[in-house]
């Protein structure tokens, strides 16, 4: 049986400029979390945007559950369960917290309302502050609360692949641990997770495998336990 998410020789560039990422290949199977590490500007966010279809590919292909989705539109990929939590929250500020969550479940529009509310309740249990604020406009939440909402909104879709871009950005230490726990729990439920994170220590502690990107190319890949103790890691990862 094939792996769940497979990426072959990906190449992406903005406009007609030089390639931002090149020759990126990896696979993430069920029950697996892949940490994507690298310095700022290495191309991590670009990689996630390409996989979710916001950026077109220049070369390479993306296989999702065996299907080649390289040419699919972003919304079609979401319908298949490929959910991307973008960097920097990106809330729908004019909608309430509850409406934001419901919109996250847009792909489940044929399901009964009670099923959606069940998922919403699970998310409210994870982040009680969201329940307290559920009738407030998302734009009025603090930065960290919006980050929680962004993750909650992604979970509403019942993702089959989850891609998180710096989920701990701007979140208090206590909540960071909770967010990582939630993402870990998703993996344990059998959902492949792609985690982009600046906090390499925490990311590698949680992930099963990791890749390190430097100037758009994978320079190191391996099991997280090995990367954690790799002496070259800090030097290469930090782009020195």
């Amino acid at each position: 049986m094939q792996v769940f998410l497979q990426v072959d020789n990906l190449e992406v560039s903005y406009g007609t400029g030089a390639a931002v990422i090149r020759n990126i290949s990896f696979a993430v199977d069920r029950n697996e979390m892949l940490a994507v590490l690298g310095a700022n500007g290495a191309g991590k966010s670009t990689l996630l945007r390409a996989i979710s279809g916001i950026l077109p590919l220049k070369a390479g292909r993306i296989l999702l559950d065996g299907a080649d989705v390289s040419r699919w539109s972003p919304n079609k990929r979401v319908e298949l369960g490929l959910i991307h939590v973008p960097e920097g929250r990106q809330m729908l500020g004019g909608l309430t917290v509850a409406e934001n969550l419901l919109l996250g479940a847009y792909t489940r529009r044929r399901e009964r309302r009670s099923a959606l509310e069940e998922t919403a309740d699970e998310i409210y249990q994870l982040f009680p502050i969201l329940k307290e604020r559920r009738q407030q406009l998302a734009g009025s939440l603090s930065g960290g609360q919006q980050q929680m909402l962004a993750l909650g909104r992604a979970l509403m879709a019942k993702p089959r692949v989850l891609m998180c871009d710096e989920p701990s950005l701007g979140v208090a230490p206590k909540i960071t641990d909770e967010i990582f726990a939630v993402i870990g729990a998703m993996r344990d439920r059998g959902i492949p997770v792609l985690l982009v994170e600046q906090n390499a220590k925490k990311a590698l502690a949680l992930a099963d495998r990791g890749i390190i990107i430097k100037r758009g190319e994978i320079i190191l890949a391996g099991p997280a336990s090995e990367l954690r103790v790799n002496r070259n890691l800090s030097a290469s990862y930090l782009g020195v």
Binding site: G143, L169, G170, K174, Q198
Partner: protein
């Protein structure tokens, strides 16, 4: 700077201006002699170019789209016509009178409409345009109503401007002078300030730009362009009629700007000429003319969303090899800050019992703390505790409902953000607020130039490009390079904001704030999204600034970062202070552990 150096600098700085004029002259001359383009088109193009310049200064730079300019255009035209036919006052004096009336009208209109959100600003100005049109149509006794007014002579300047050639030369000379002034203005610190406002008015204000005044003055100047264009229009045609000032003409003006390329100024040359020429091109179609013009516009705007000039500029930018400044490492320019501080023992900043409500929620509920000169103070707390709100209160983005904030003896709570910035407090934002219409270098220059007063004298000085402003600009550019080097961002100097990775954008914002040389810097999660080595670099940078005497208030969730850097930490939760003291005490504090550290 010697004279020849100054000339060379001016030529290089204004290459676009000279190139656009020369290219236009070379293109239009053969077309004129081949009788493809008639003199009428060229003269009216010059006249409308004046109006479009004003529109583009307002929209292309400051992002305000005015539909009221058709009204000011009419005011200028009718001032000339009415004053001549009723009082036999010469057309040039009539134009002056029209400008004065426009200044009064646009100032009043601007004070009202500029408070509105952009879409309502458009509607408000549109109402003015329609009212002007109605007034000139029905006010028979003065404007001649729908019969119009005629018999306006052309002005006499040395010689009579009776022929199309002489009047054309006069109109072109006026247009070129105004083009030059507008171009200098848009390239100056005022241009940068206007584009900053277009991108993010709150951040612009926090960098010391007097947003309201600058917007009002720009609106008035822009209206004067329309009025003067109207006066030229009346002199050229020798008659005025309400039809020339209808919504159709407004639409033409807007099309001239968008078609030529908003924000480029020189695009107006192309836009006006093409639109004036269109009736000749599509004239044979009679009834179908409007339809075909419409289709033509849709196609052009669809293919060239930034207009013709915008497309040309993009192409040139793509062809020009990107400026790589590898190896250019300017010396660090952290100024000694302590020298500028009052040698008092009193706290630098004192926050006393400050409270702020949002609707029914009490976001800040009586917070007090002090920052001493040259101190690094941390502000931590759970998400939603009110940290960013507190920063907004200190920087003047929000006003407190209760309590007071003192910088030495100055009460800050009733001051605007730009006033607070001028007093020496700078800030960054939790979610980076760079100005998207400016390059990275220009973003920092806005800080370096201490914003803008927006006063008329400042606008005039920048438009004339006085030697002082040019020297200051070159100095600011050089210093900007040094700030970029300090934060290892020099590779991004000419880049657009969106091409910079998210984590590094916050560093650009940090550089922008530092460039304004504050003595208190408020940082809202500046290292979120950076990896450990990048964080170490920022830490080193902050320590250097601290050594120079700069005081900090730092909001950050990276607890090790805060503990190592800060001399004192204030912890808030649910809008109240739960602890305040040295890092070691905070780490052991039970309340802090329960609420925050976990």
């Amino acid at each position: 700077m010697t004279l020849s150096q100054a000339v060379a600098y001016l030529a290089r700085r204004n290459a676009r201006f000279f190139f656009a004029l020369l290219a236009y002259a070379f293109a239009i001359t053969p077309l004129y002699f081949l009788r493809v383009v008639h003199s009428d088109v060229i003269v009216t193009s010059a006249i409308f170019f004046v109006v479009v310049l004003g529109l583009d200064l307002l929209y292309g730079c400051a992002g305000m789209l005015s539909f009221g300019h058709i009204g000011f255009f009419a005011v200028g035209a009718y001032s000339v016509a009415v004053l001549f036919t009723r009082f036999a006052i010469s057309p040039l004096l009539g134009a002056l009178a029209g400008t004065l009336i426009t200044i009064a009208l646009s100032y009043a209109l601007g004070r009202v409409c500029l408070r509105l959100a952009p879409s309502y600003f458009m509607l408000g100005t549109l109402a003015f345009g329609i009212m002007t049109h109605s007034a000139i149509t029905v006010w028979y006794s003065v404007t001649g109503g729908d019969g119009g007014l005629g018999g306006i002579p052309r002005p006499i300047i040395g010689c009579s401007l009776d022929t199309d050639l002489t009047f054309g030369a006069f109109a072109a000379a006026c247009a070129i002078v105004l083009f030059w002034l507008t171009y200098s203005l848009s390239r100056s610190r005022i241009g940068r300030a206007l584009r900053a406002i277009r991108g993010d008015a709150v951040a612009a204000s926090c960098l010391g730009i007097h947003v309201d005044r600058l917007k009002t003055n720009t609106f008035v100047i822009s209206a004067c362009y329309a009025s003067f264009g109207g006066s030229l229009f009346a002199m050229y045609n020798g008659a005025v009629h309400p039809d020339s000032f209808s919504l159709g003409t407004l639409l033409d003006l807007l099309l001239m700007m968008f078609f030529g390329g908003e924000g480029t100024l020189w695009g107006g040359l192309l836009g006006t000429t093409i639109i004036r020429q269109l009736p000749d091109i599509f004239g044979g179609l009679h009834g179908g003319q409007v339809l075909f013009e419409g289709i033509f516009f849709c196609l052009v705007i669809f293919v060239l969303p930034r207009g013709i000039a915008g497309a040309v500029e993009d192409a040139v930018k793509r062809l020009a090899s990107p400026r790589t400044k590898a190896g250019v490492r300017a010396a660090s320019n952290i100024p000694p800050i302590a020298a500028r501080l009052q040698p008092e023992q009193a706290p630098l900043l004192q926050v006393e019992n400050v409270a702020r409500n949002f609707g029914g929620v009490r976001a800040i509920d009586g917070v007090s703390f002090a920052i001493h000169r040259g101190q690094i103070k941390g502000l931590i707390g759970p998400n939603g505790a009110g940290k960013s709100t507190l920063l907004n209160l200190i920087s003047g983005v929000l006003a407190p409902d209760d309590g007071c904030i003192l910088l030495y003896a100055t009460e800050l709570s009733r001051l605007r953000p730009d006033q607070i910035a001028k007093l020496g407090i700078q800030r960054t934002f939790q979610h980076e607020r760079l100005f998207p219409h400016l390059s990275i270098e220009e973003n920092i220059m806005v800080g370096e130039e201490h914003g803008a007063d927006g006063s008329l004298s400042e606008l005039l000085e920048c438009a004339l490009g006085s030697r002082r402003t040019l020297t200051a600009e070159r100095a600011a550019r050089a210093k900007t390079q040094a700030w970029l080097c300090d934060l290892q961002l020099e590779a991004y100097a000419g880049a657009t904001t969106e091409s910079v990775p998210q984590g590094l954008r916050k560093l650009v914002e940090l550089a922008r704030a530092c460039a304004a040389q504050p003595f208190l810097l408020l940082l809202d999660e500046s290292v979120a999204g950076l990896n450990d080595v990048e964080k170490q670099a920022v830490k080193g940078f902050i320590k250097k600034l601290h050594a120079a005497g700069l005081a900090f208030l730092i909001i950050e969730h990276d607890i090790d970062f805060v503990m190592e850097l800060c001399e004192e930490i204030c912890v808030i939760s649910f809008g109240r202070t739960i602890a305040d003291g040295p890092p070691a005490d905070i780490r052991k504090n039970d309340a802090v552990i329960a609420a925050y550290l976990g």
